[in-house]
């Protein structure tokens, strides 16, 4: 292959003389549907040479003629910034196509014509525009004067509705005619500001004297040089040499100084404005921009103030839903485990084995497993909120609050993910480019209560706050989130300083959630809870049982668990928590659910579930239970989360996270307990 062709991809079919039709267009414009409509079942799927991008080819039979149809990757422009764009661009540059069918979405014509103009600028003349999704455009009140459009744009325009097949036969006829040279075209190309046009003229003049002019449209090459397209710079350098190239680059820099912007954005802006003016010549109605249901809802749900109240209200209702339906199911499961323990206990002769199975395994794992309905229902509610489109709005509200507290805007993704699990949330901090943003988000992320901590919150609020459990649960969530934001403010101001990195969101349309999808998603997520109960919590429960039974049974003051708890009791008593709470918190570091498993083992839920609740109510006040739920939510993250922080931020930040969470939870625990005592709670 000649060196000068190094931007081009030459199709084998072209060499064989088969007439080729290329389908170009933006992603999701109905290109594949039109491809199917043109080729029927005569298709072949492979890869583009050297890459794993799918290449679809098919045969179009029209009367007695055959054409090879190639579906190019969907792109928004031909800037070669992605592999898809590079494939499409190089294919078109190689003059491989006898006809290019540019499929445009008539309901979003502006951005679609941006690609059309780029194709025209390459000097490709045999282009047909398939004005697709014409039905959607009609519904939106958009209408076109197609004849005028053809005249203005300079190529044939065929309105199509690929889904119904409308216009496909006309398109086939036009393809056939154009491939046989029966159609003449005169594609319009954008005209830029005078300084840019002058430079295009100057560069084109220089390039016209090189062999490149034989193979490429020199105006296209000049425009690409102005936009500092690296592929084109390399190509042109081969023919102009470094001296002339430097002169061109100096001119480009001067122009950039004149516009105070890189020329790629200047040219793109002017191209966009050019299309805007063109469209006014052939679009009869642009469709009315009126407030949709979605717009009205967004005004409330993403409002800085109403949005927060709505968010709190939605989460209150979420917990109300989970508790109302989930509690009877949880109690049923509890009783089932108790009955099962009582059923098998007499059949196990060996006392140690009976203790292990009934108190250790059934008591520990059973107390956690009985929360499965609550976890499942939480995920059902979350899935419904996600599918309805509300979660994206909630994220917008959270992002606004987070920004006030100095958290980088993009942190809201890991913060939202953390409501499910902190591990993927911390892993997702990889999307934050800025080191400061990443570290800050990682450090405050464990303060967002995950679903494991939800189990503990649910358990303790259920036992101690039967009337207002949903409200107390939301309160604990609100305190944790407030502390996460406050921590971000403090850490961001004094520990990790940096710059904000901007981003923008496209909110999904509101939709009626599907119960089926919600149930499938919830099951997918809840399975992990069951897996965890069968592994980490099972081993945790066995360990707790062992430590609480040896060397002497609990109550003697000599069991390992009591000894361990007593070591930490002087410290935990500052927040009103005894040695049992201390032990449960230690085991909670392995997995937060172990906090409940520990109580299950210590109080022997395997033998009597009612007794557990009664004993806990005797051993603990509502204030102490509230403090325990809060401290469990705030203290040292679970091992998996610490591991994730270590993997993403290193030992230093994992240590900082552990110390910071421990300090924060201790301060809050002591404060809340003593303020509560002072208020007589």
């Amino acid at each position: 292959m000649n060196e000068c062709h190094d931007l081009k991809y030459i199709s084998k079919n072209k060499k064989q003389g088969l007439r080729v039709i290329a389908l170009a267009g933006n992603p999701n414009v109905g290109k594949t549907t039109i491809f199917n409509g043109l080729t029927g079942l005569r298709q072949h799927v492979g890869n583009w040479p050297g890459v794993t991008v799918e290449k679809k080819e098919g045969i179009l039979k029209y009367h007695d003629k055959e054409f090879l149809v190639i579906d190019l990757p969907g792109t928004y422009s031909l800037t070669a910034s992605s592999i898809d764009e590079l494939i499409a661009r190089n294919f078109l540059l190689g003059s491989n196509a006898d006809v290019v069918v540019d499929i445009v979405d008539s309901s979003s014509l502006m951005r679609n014509l941006f690609l059309t103009m780029e194709i025209f600028e390459m000097g490709i003349k045999n282009v047909i525009i398939a004005l697709n999704k014409i039905d959607i455009a009609k519904k939106r009140g958009i209408s076109f004067d197609v004849k005028k459009m053809e005249k203005v744009i300079g190529v044939p325009v065929i309105p199509t509705n690929a889904k119904s097949g409308e216009g496909v036969e006309e398109l086939k006829a036009m393809i056939s005619g154009m491939a046989e040279g029966k159609a003449t075209t005169n594609p319009i190309t954008p005209i830029y500001d005078e300084p840019i046009e002058q430079e295009i003229g100057h560069i084109s003049g220089v390039l016209s004297e090189t062999p490149l002019a034989q193979w490429y449209n020199v105006r296209w090459l000049a425009i690409k040089l102005l936009t500092r397209d690296q592929e084109v710079i390399k190509l042109v350098l081969n023919y102009l040499g470094p001296k002339k190239m430097d002169e061109i680059l100096i001119h480009i820099s001067e122009l950039e100084r004149y516009y105070k912007h890189p020329l790629d954005i200047v040219i793109a802006n002017q191209k966009y404005e050019f299309i805007d003016k063109l469209m006014h010549q052939f679009v009869i109605h642009f469709g009315e921009v009126h407030e949709t249901f979605s717009d009205c809802m967004d005004k409330i749900l993403t409002h800085p103030l109403y949005g927060i109240f709505t968010l709190l209200g939605v989460f209150y209702l979420l917990f109300k839903f989970v508790f109302t339906i989930g509690t009877p199911l949880q109690e049923f499961l509890d009783n089932t485990f108790v009955s099962f323990g009582q059923l098998i206990a007499p059949h196990i002769g060996n006392e140690t084995l009976r203790g292990l199975i009934v108190n250790g395994i059934i008591g520990g794992v059973g107390s956690v497993l009985s929360f499965f309905p609550l976890v499942f229902l939480l995920f059902v509610a979350m899935s419904i909120l996600e599918d309805s489109g509300y979660m994206a709005r909630a994220a917008t509200v959270m992002e606004k609050i987070m920004r006030i507290f100095g958290l980088p805007g993009k942190s809201f993704i890991p913060m939202v993910l953390a409501f499910g699990c902190n591990v993927p949330a911390i892993m997702s901090t990889r999307t934050l480019e800025d080191e400061r943003d990443r570290i800050l988000t990682m450090l405050v992320n464990p303060l967002v209560p995950c679903s494991a901590r939800m189990v503990v919150i649910t358990f303790l609020t259920g036992v101690f706050f039967s009337k207002h459990k949903a409200l107390v649960a939301v309160g604990i969530y609100a305190i944790s989130l407030f502390l996460a934001l406050l921590s971000a403010l403090i850490l961001g101001k004094f520990v990790i300083k940096g710059e904000e990195s901007p981003f923008v969101m496209e909110l999904p349309e509101y939709a009626i959630p599907s119960w089926k999808i919600a149930l499938i998603h919830s099951w997918e997520r809840s399975k992990e809870f069951l897996r965890k109960a069968g592994t980490v919590i099972l081993f945790g429960s066995i360990a707790i049982w062992y430590l609480s039974s040896y060397p002497q049974a609990m109550g003697s003051g000599l069991s390992y668990a009591e000894k361990l708890g007593k070591v930490f009791e002087p410290f935990t008593m500052l927040m009103g928590l005894d040695w049992k709470a201390a032990v449960s918190l230690i085991f909670g570091i392995i997995a937060k659910e172990n906090v409940i498993a520990t109580y299950g083992v210590i109080y022997g839920i395997g033998e009597n579930e009612e007794a557990l609740i009664m004993l806990m109510r005797v051993a603990m006040t509502s204030l102490q239970a509230f403090v325990l739920a809060l401290v469990t939510t705030l203290y040292i993250p679970c091992i998996a989360t610490i591991g994730a922080i270590r993997a993403e931020g290193g030992n230093k930040w994992a240590t900082v996270a552990v110390i910071y969470n421990l300090l924060l939870s201790s301060i809050i625990g002591v404060l809340v307990y003593n303020i509560g005592l002072f208020l007589g709670l």
């Binding site: 954005i265 967004d298 997702s428």
Partner: protein, 79 residues
């Protein structure tokens, strides 16, 4: 300069949703979203890939399950 540049400026200034930008520029949210896609292809913004289901999530191998799925597209400005 033009709409593309205006949108980039608004993102830098802190506008966070396409609707917010659309209101400020008095154009439709669809047009804003179209321009964002052009800006993406020009390399000014990049899409943050977030899994739409557990099956398609790039973090599924390390995930302990139960993450929250964010629907919608997020584009961040390239530095």
């Amino acid at each position: 300069m033009g709409k593309l540049d205006d949108i980039l400026e608004l993102i830098k200034e802190g506008a966070r949703t396409s609707k917010e930008i659309a209101e400020r520029l008095e154009i439709s949210a669809e047009e804003v979203e179209g321009i964002i896609k052009i800006l993406e292809s020009l390399g000014y913004v990049e899409k943050i890939e977030i899994g739409e289901s557990c099956g398609s999530c790039p973090l599924k191998k390390i995930c302990l399950g139960s993450c929250i799925i964010f629907k919608g597209n997020i584009y961040q400005m390239k530095k």
